[in-house]
């Protein structure tokens, strides 16, 4: 996957189509499509494995939101950092992490990214510059701001994408972070994934104003609202935000309008919204279907070719699931390791 990421980085340097409905770049559009599909199939598999009792505890699926991370990742380089909440499986795929290590971690096995000790909500990869995987709502925001602080300190030109939910934006530490980031012109893009609900609470019942892109206004932080179900629109907005912050102008806020199809976690009966509401988004705004439609319409690939791609992706995921189930549980001695670094 590093090759893929490097290609993304190269793609990032190409000018972005201004009109999402315009001409697709064949190679890029197929790659984005495949990556979104990889997340979707991984998450479906995770849902099944949870049902079989192979995964325990909390498991938050990303189905429906794929365009956000795939679009954003396509405009950064492998040296840039990413940090997010517990709804993190998609972000890890986007960062180029291996589905095997992700599913093994979900199963609590030694082949997982955290040796089975972190689980669904807590995975990291120093190699891929993915810094978690955080279970406490909002806590990743100052954390990501600190990563950006280190980038600025080292003058390495890297940025940090700091993701949060629409529920998380009401945590006080988010605003403490905004102030510091603006004060010190830190290279951070705050990506608010507005999927309309924080658990069972709709944005209307949690926030006095429900558009979030202007929440940095008091500090002069620019913001934009983006159709987070359109990967090309995400890329376009992401490109602008990333180049702004990389140029040393300070933080940028992107509000991605998106939707999660599944319950908040596996144990959420989701009675706070109707089935029709979910169905409507699935049928009208699905980010994967929308891109597939464009790809076929413009003759970039045929439906059969896309189906082939899906089969390949499914095979990759099945293989990863197989790997996860066959990976042994961590050795009991691992209970005591990783509490301290040897000094």
């Amino acid at each position: 996957m590093p090759a893929k990421q490097a290609a993304d980085a190269a793609a990032a340097k190409k000018p972005v189509r201004k009109d999402p409905g315009g001409k697709l770049d064949p190679e890029l559009s197929l790659r984005l499509y495949e990556q979104m599909l990889l997340i979707r199939r991984l998450e479906e598999k995770a849902g099944q494995m949870y049902g079989m009792g192979l995964i325990g505890g909390f498991c938050h699926l990303y189905i429906g939101q794929e365009a956000v991370v795939i679009g954003m990742q396509s405009v950064i380089t492998p040296d840039d950092a990413v940090v997010t909440s517990y709804r993190d499986h998609g972000h890890m795929i986007a960062c180029g992490m291996d589905p095997k290590g992700i599913l093994a971690e979900l199963c609590g096995r030694r082949g997982g990214y955290s040796k089975g000790k972190g689980g669904s909500m807590h995975m990291f990869s120093r190699e891929k510059n993915f810094y978690g995987g955080h279970g406490i709502v909002g806590a990743q925001v100052p954390f990501g701001t600190g990563i950006a602080f280190a980038h600025r300190y080292r003058e390495n030109g890297n940025v940090c994408l700091t993701y949060m939910g629409d529920g998380a934006v009401n945590q006080g530490q988010v605003y403490e972070s905004f102030n510091m980031a603006a004060l010190w012109k830190l290279p951070v893009v705050y990506v608010i994934e507005n999927n309309k609900y924080g658990m069972g609470t709709s944005i209307e019942r949690a926030s006095a104003r429900v558009d979030f892109y202007h929440r940095g206004q008091s500090w002069g932080i620019p913001g934009a609202q983006v159709d987070g179900m359109d990967v090309m629109a995400v890329r376009e907005a992401g490109e602008k935000a990333v180049s702004y912050t990389r140029a040393g102008k300070g933080p940028y806020i992107l509000e991605m309008i998106t939707y999660r199809y599944r319950g908040h976690s596996m144990s959420d009966p989701a009675k706070y919204r109707t089935r029709e509401e979910v169905q409507k988004v699935r049928s009208e705004r699905d980010p994967i279907d929308r891109l597939a439609h464009l790809i076929v319409e413009q003759g970039v690939a045929s439906e059969d070719q896309l189906k082939d791609m899906d089969r390949k992706v499914k095979a990759t995921i099945s293989e990863a699931a197989e790997y996860a189930q066959n990976s042994p549980e961590p050795d009991p001695s691992e209970l005591y390791t990783d509490v301290y670094v040897d000094a």
Binding site: G47, Q48, G57, G108, G135, R275, R282, E329, P332, Y336
Partner: protein, 464 residues
């Protein structure tokens, strides 16, 4: 190839469920995303979605099927044109997501009774008992129901009592503790907050100094760490800093400690953190009757009370007094099993393990006295010392970490007050000194169990 639909696990704690009803009939066509059935879990009714296209070939567990184990086949999905009898060795595949079971119920708006006006300047006299009441007539209920009833009864009794927290109103609590409260008391008194722990905790403290009596629910105590400054610097210290003028009648409650497989950031035990703080009262009940009686006492108490619950215990049933004035005094432990050879202290979920350990020990001729501490501050050292004077040996059991834990304090107190009665050093059974791992095998190793208590009891008796 027919696909077996298996009973899915739909929550971290679910091991079996009820097949409430089938929404598709045998022979009916199904598309991926269609709802096949409704399943009742230990927490909610969930919809079971198909991830396959095909025909519902055969229903293996009919509607009404109760206690269906997770992973048991419940139906077969056939490809179109396929015959159910061909289903010799179906390929197991799990079912898809479970989704909302019904349209959201419109929360009826209930007019709350008018709030009483200005707050009393001095600490009100609370009708809190000092001695253990009789149980009287009882009814069996879960800890979950007992907590709900305690809040409902106190809200009926005192219009200044209100409940606030994430998902407490329309969702009835993330762990379904506040069922029916929004419907009875309305949104003025059952308040859904944004995810802003520091903010709503401080707001609760502010409301309490004006004479309101907030019950602040933390979805779990792990999230109270976001708010701990307001709990300690505002709630616990204001009375002292104001020379006794301003007090905070507030309850902070929610599940504490490890649930199941929710890993390091969601599985911490906070008893000793809060028990350390002068100005707070801290309780951690085990049984439903204590949960109810102590929560009512906590709500009536004019001081800030930390009320530590346990997610695993929510579904456990116990006899609970029907008397709405049944209150359990804060600061009193209870001997839940008498014995003469060794004292075992425990609280919250560890009481279950202590009782199990006592049963095992009995088989070996050892009579253990089990004390449910219930309150951690004020701490009932008298009951513990009286027991040690009888048994001359003591084991302290707690789920939290050992260093500076509740057992450390018990050791010190017993050493100070009953040194001459001890025939062995105090033994402490605690969680292992590491963050909680996610992996099933490691999590088991990280937590104390009945076997550890048995071993500790034998060690203080110098038996092997």
């Amino acid at each position: 190839m027919p696909v077996e639909i298996l009973m899915p696990a739909l929550s971290p704690t679910m091991t079996e469920g009820k097949l409430a009803r089938w929404l598709k009939k045998e022979g009916e066509k199904v598309a991926s995303g269609d709802v096949l059935a409704e399943i009742e879990t230990d927490k909610a009714t969930m919809e079971l979605e198909s991830v396959n296209d095909g025909v519902l070939g055969k229903i293996l567990v009919p509607a009404g099927g109760d206690a269906v184990a997770v992973n048991k086949p419940i139906a077969l999905i056939l490809e179109e044109g396929e015959d159910a009898s061909a289903a010799t060795s179906p390929k197991a595949q799990t079912n898809g997501a479970a989704k909302e079971a019904a349209k959201p119920a419109e929360a009826p708006k209930v007019e709350a009774p008018a709030a009483t006006p200005a707050p009393a300047p001095a600490a009100p006299k609370a009708a809190v008992p000092q001695t253990e009441p009789e149980l009287g007539e009882t009814k069996t209920m879960t800890v979950r129901e007992a907590l709900r009833d305690a809040m409902a009864e106190e809200m009926r009794r005192d219009p200044d009592v209100f409940l606030m927290g994430e998902e407490v109103a329309q969702y009835h609590g993330a762990y379904k503790i506040s069922q029916g409260l929004l419907e009875e008391f309305g949104e003025k008194r059952v308040v859904d907050t944004p995810i802003t722990e520091m903010g709503f905790t401080g707001l609760g403290v502010g409301a309490s100094v004006m004479g309101l009596k907030p019950i602040v629910e933390f979805m779990t105590f792990n999230f109270a760490m976001q708010a701990i400054d307001q709990i300690i610097n505002s709630a616990a210290k204001t009375l002292y800093m104001s020379g006794g003028q301003i007090h905070c009648p507030i309850v902070f409650r929610g599940p504490n400690g490890a649930a199941a497989r929710v890993a390091a950031q969601h599985s911490q035990e906070y008893s000793s953190w809060y028990a350390h703080i002068p100005g707070l009262k801290v309780v951690a009940p085990y049984s439903a009757s204590d949960a109810k009686g102590l929560l009512k006492s906590a709500i009536r108490d004019p001081n800030p009370v930390i009320f530590l619950e346990n997610e695993i215990l929510y579904g456990h049933s116990f006899p609970v007094p029907t008397d709405p004035d049944y209150l359990v005094p804060i600061g009193k432990a209870k001997v839940v099993r008498p014995g003469s050879h060794v004292t075992i202290t425990a609280f919250s979920r560890m009481v279950e393990y202590a009782l199990a350990a006592a049963e095992t020990l009995k088989g070996e001729g050892i009579e253990a006295e089990v004390i449910d501490l219930r309150s951690l501050r004020p701490f009932d050292i008298e009951t513990v010392v009286a027991s040690v004077k009888k048994t001359n040996r003591i084991v302290s059991a707690e789920e939290g970490w050992q260093f500076a834990g509740i057992g450390s304090e018990i050791s010190a107190l017993v050493m100070e007050q009953a040194f001459d009665y001890l025939d062995a050093p105090v033994a402490r059974v605690t969680g292992v000194d590491v963050p909680m791992p996610y992996a099933a095998n490691l999590e088991k190793l990280a937590l104390p169990h009945a076997d550890h208590i048995v071993a500790a009891a034998k060690s203080v008796l110098y038996r092997s």
